[in-house]
Symmetry: C2
Subunit: 425 residues, 2 copies
């Protein structure tokens, strides 16, 4: 942690003046400069290249090109866009494709993994994982006749970090699959991918990493970690747009052993021969299913460009500085009002968001959105979650955001809001 | 068949002047008025409302509203857009949702159906179905341990119409599922939904209809036919845009008995409680999976408006007139060059496209696209497929399209093209 942080807007300004990524902010649309957007970990901002590309896909490629555009880049897009994402998550060519949603991809890879080792009946995950990922696992177990057991390890007493000893004990010779979110959606804890992958491999288990809260924010080295599988969404730090299609990674060494449970024509070997019997495509493409939403996919493809230009090392360095700074401000401005940190202090164990916990977190979140023009998000039971997107967020905005939270507390503005849960996100 | 058709451009013009839907053409973007687009059955044209909506979703809802837009219509969109499609396929409220691709939806409904009657092991379909649908069925059978048998009935000798006697014989007491495309993608044959559904129900089998080539072009009455399930894409006659998300229909009477194999958080009962255990939503929404591509989905939603305004009865009436006229022109202009009709003559058995067959079909298709500014599409081995979209195609365009095909034949323009297959669509 930087020891020189200071509690002043001038200091934030100084951090901005030293920020080598500051100019990337201009690549984004900011319609309301007063808005402090701390939810880029949920839905990334709209970039200028994304606007332009969406317009081009709709007007030129669909409107003008019509069905001819299938032969001019549409058909290949799941693999092409996959290669761009591969460059952000440390994967060599031929292992990442874009397809469907994270849930559907997790379903496909879980089913493929369990089919590979039908005699192994244990699946290991944690209670801090996305509930959506746990649901998919539960559905797979049901589908396979309830022969499998899902073991969920818990957090340590801090509620922030997973109990790695318990994790190591849970992974045994009967374990087919370990699946975890690389960055936990609530606390922002960042697993050590290499360590956990090796831990699983020692027992003969395969690992599926959910990169949704990690890609575009932390350094990821899938190949170097000898990872087996990964899935992830593209609408958080990858700024792909609402619900933009997800991706999956399958390590080259195991691709040909695996079969998708969904035998889709986009994953067929020769789809335009229109043969009546399925034969899987080679490589990760066998995990493609049906037609993909091209406007959403190609808009997302364009949105990757600023990230690729900035480079993950620079993004990660700025992200760490931002979350360190945010923790400093939490301690200096918000702890006096009853907040506590719900995220790791060690930046090596932290993604690009932090949770700050307060018993009135829900009402504080409502006050921030409704009258302070700050957008964090709230996660039960008491987490105000603050996302710091290194590509377009400034330190001045972080300062201003914390100062507005402080004002909400000082002026008790949250008291007029009901604690009745209303929002859907 | 109208007996008064005449072989002249003036007659086509006369048909246009009597066309009550003619003004809907103005609702679409036509960048190249010389282009004869006969592939709207593959990718529908871009409408003006779709352009506007895409722009609004990107710039206002994503760019301006950011994550707040989830609470302003995004989250509910799969159900809301489903209701609009329901209005085009004869379904009362609460039975249609938009989600994923047709392939993934067919997978979900097939798995749910087979789980409902595990003792029944027969699946009946036909060899003229989309190969993509057959692949999904094959994958389901493999996933369930190859306990099921897929029986594919063939066409009659004409290669155009299915052998309904064979179909009836194939459906026995052991049949769990009958699944067919309502309109066959090659010949355009239109099944009688009520007849086949009753045929299956008499033996205790359930039916999944693939409406991809039918919705927006033929009259469909899912509820009146007592249909069990349907799936379909939205990028053909529904003009939703390339790869726009698909939909599924589940009859209200069986919804609560069924479980999706993919336990997705969008199909969860209370997703924002973030509970660790899955509990399915009520109704068709339990078949939702993960996040949907909002730009593609909301653009598609807007594209439905002109169809809803025109009304399916008017669209179907014009569609029949168009395909009757196209068959008349085939007989008068193209049969002399060796073409034969690959589609039913009886309009009651026909969707909104026809296939015209010629041994040189592949090369003729290439000549039409490359030098005649006509876009049909080609389906192996010899089908030149011509789609007639009642919402925006004019009779003059149909005339002009056939006249250009005639010129390709008369001038033997196809001879300079290789018969080597190149295109991907």
């Amino acid at each position: 942690m930087n020891k020189d942080f200071q509690v002043s807007p001038e200091y934030a300004f100084q951090l901005d003046s030293q920020d080598k990524l500051a100019s990337f902010r201009d690549a984004f649309i900011v319609t309301d400069p007063d808005l402090i957007y701390l939810d880029g970990n949920s839905l990334g901002r709209l970039s200028k290249v994304a606007i332009e590309r969406a317009k081009q896909v709709v007007e030129e490629e669909w409107g003008g090109g019509l069905a001819r555009s299938w032969n001019k880049g549409w058909w290949e897009s799941p693999a092409r866009v996959g290669e761009k994402i591969a460059g952000l998550v440390g994967a060599a060519a031929g292992q990442v494709v874009v397809s469907d949603s994270t849930s559907v991809n997790l379903f496909k890879l879980t089913m493929a993994t369990l089919a590979l080792n039908p005699q192994k009946t244990r699946i290991v995950t944690d209670t801090m994982n996305f509930p959506s990922d746990l649901y998919i696992l539960q559905g797979c177990v049901q589908l396979l006749g309830n022969r499998h057991e899902i073991v969920r390890i818990d957090s340590k007493n801090d509620g922030i970090t997973p109990d790695l000893d318990a994790l190591e004990k849970a992974i045994n010779e009967d374990t087919a699959l370990v699946t975890l979110s690389l960055v936990l959606f609530k606390s922002g804890y960042l697993y050590d991918m290499k360590q956990i992958t090796e831990m699983a491999h020692r027992k003969g288990a395969l690992v599926i990493w959910d990169l949704s809260h990690a890609a575009g924010a932390v350094s990821i080295a899938l190949d170097d970690c000898n990872a087996d599988f990964a899935v992830g969404c593209t609408y958080k730090y990858l700024n792909g747009g609402p619900g933009s299609p997800a991706y999956l990674y399958v390590n080259k060494s195991i691709q040909e052993k695996l079969s998708s449970p969904i035998w889709g024509w986009w994953g067929q070997d020769k789809p335009f021969v229109f043969g009546l019997d399925y034969s899987p495509a080679h490589g990760a493409e066998r995990f493609l299913s049906g037609a993909q939403p091209l406007i959403s996919m190609l808009t997302m493809e364009a949105a990757l460009e600023p990230l690729l230009q900035a480079g993950m090392d620079s993004l990660r360095a700025k992200s760490i500085l931002m979350t360190d700074y945010a923790i400093f401000l939490t301690e200096n401005l918000l702890v006096p009002f009853g907040f506590s940190l719900g995220s790791p202090r060690d930046s090596a164990q932290r993604g690009s968001h932090i949770s700050i916990r307060h018993p009135e977190g829900y009402r504080i979140n409502r006050a921030l959105i409704d009258e302070m023009n700050v957008i964090p998000d709230f996660r039960e039971p008491d987490n105000l979650r603050l996302g710091f997107t290194p590509l377009y967020l400034s330190f001045t905005e972080i300062w201003e955001g914390f100062d507005r939270i402080r004002r909400v507390m000082e002026e008790k503005r949250y008291e007029k809001y009901s604690a009745q849960r209303l929002t859907v996100t």
